[in-house]
Amino acid sequence: MQRRVVFNNRILPYFLLLPQLVITIVFFFWPASQAIYQSVLKQDPFGLRTTFVYLENFSTVLSDPLYIESIQVTIVFSISVTVFVMTLALLFAVMADRQIRGAQTYKTLLLWPYALAPAVAAVLWMFIFHPAIGVFGKTLNNAGLKWDYQLNGAQALLLVVVASSWKQIAHNFLFFLAGLQSIPTAVVEAAMIDGAGGWKLFRAILLPLISPTTFYLITINLVFAFFDTFGVIHALTHGGPGRSTTTLMYKVYMDGYVNLNLGQSAAQSVILMLIVSVLVWMQFRFVEGKVHYT
């Protein structure tokens, strides 16, 4: 798209673009190309010689049982977060969309967790579910449930899912609410006159009409679960116990920084780039109105 009337300077637009382009090239294209370059190289243990190894890093990574394990963790984790977040956010949004007293107050009270850093959410939940001193963790143990997320992998994963979801619900709630409020009241009223109410109104009218929002949120939540939850995992479990909360993102960090395996970390970065590209592509496809009923 382009405006009809524009200014005719030849040099000025390049100067206006310059700051953004410099930052984009230096901190985006350069590193991204470095990642691709590194991913086909192998360094000897002393860092003296690098050799071109074609796709060996990729095949090493993809046949590594630890990597496969973290793929599984990531899939379980991100699907759990997405389902958990979207179900609750939609429920709250449908409720807050009703014309009830205090609707605006509820909205404010349900919005603020968006402002929290994922790592801060992790600290808050650790304090509650700490097996020895946490209000709930202690209660669970007193009830004989053997709660200790530092030892039990399934419990660790559950806690990471809960802390991440808790922070993300506010975001989804806002988008669902905006989606619901953009539905023309005439449509809803017509359905109600025809006798649709409650569940039927939700299934037959509201859910289809907000489906663009729903599809959009699926990709946003997957991206959130893949990347933004690094802070939650780093603060809460450090990927453990064992590797039960090591997601792909956490593994890139571990291999690249802690274990300094550059070639394989770069190969993992490239794989992540591909995954994000697919997600972003999906997002644009759906936002462009391919899923529309109005």
């Binding site: 350069w30 205090g102 349900l110 850093a117 209000v135 770069a266």
Partner: protein, 282 residues
Amino acid sequence: MIPKRLRNFPIHLTLVVAVIVFVFPVYFAFIGSTWDASLIGRGQMPLTPGPDLIANYTNALTSAQGGRIIGNPVQALLWNSLQMAVAIAVGKIIISILSAYAVAFFRFPLRMFFFAMIFLTLMLPIEVRIAPTYKVMSDLGLINTFAGLTIPLMASATGTLLFRQFFLTIPDEYVEAAKIDGAGPMRFFWSIVLPLSRTNIAALFVILFIYGWNQYLWPLLITTSRDMETIVIGIVKMMGTGEAQTDWNLIMASTVLALLPPVLVVVLMQQWFVRGLVQTEK
């Protein structure tokens, strides 16, 4: 027919439960910040506020030294986070409004190529390219510098897309009128475009401030010196592996202090926040 008040009861109940679920982790953090460490360490923290509120917050703000923790004073950490968040927000707004202005109000060779270049940054969050970006930063000598901490986070397409979208709605007649009156493009930018963009700038600022304040992975890698530590990193470092016998009262006081600024921004500037969130993402 059932009276409206009764009919709405399940709705209110659901929403009140939701609000409570959202609030209670912060409530317990607050309670934790009002008792002494040994009581919490024994697992005997009551469910109501205790007597040490002022002592704990004063300690956290000015020294953050406890029986087990040697932290950074939280006031220094808050100051670091504030500087980082404001720098990222302001920097991103400036570079993206300028580039959007170029793309929307001029026609020049390679225009769409540059736009596509900026657009592509959407594809890769900084987390994906951390290792190579870190390498670039150390080559440029930007590790442990404020520039290294903030500038890479300014490279993003969202601001440019938002402003470009808005600029396309500015009527052509404005540009024509400006040209007839002899205003050049920069005069037009200062006198017309910038004032018209006020609400968009405010909305974007709120979103970016929170984005900047909550950064975790990037500061973790780039800042190794203690005096550059941000509040979010500082708290996680204080907490360590989360042993029972640590200064939980200090950690919780710091946590409450860390979450207050962004939460206040969201609550007090709610209109702009909602607008910014919906616009930058859609």
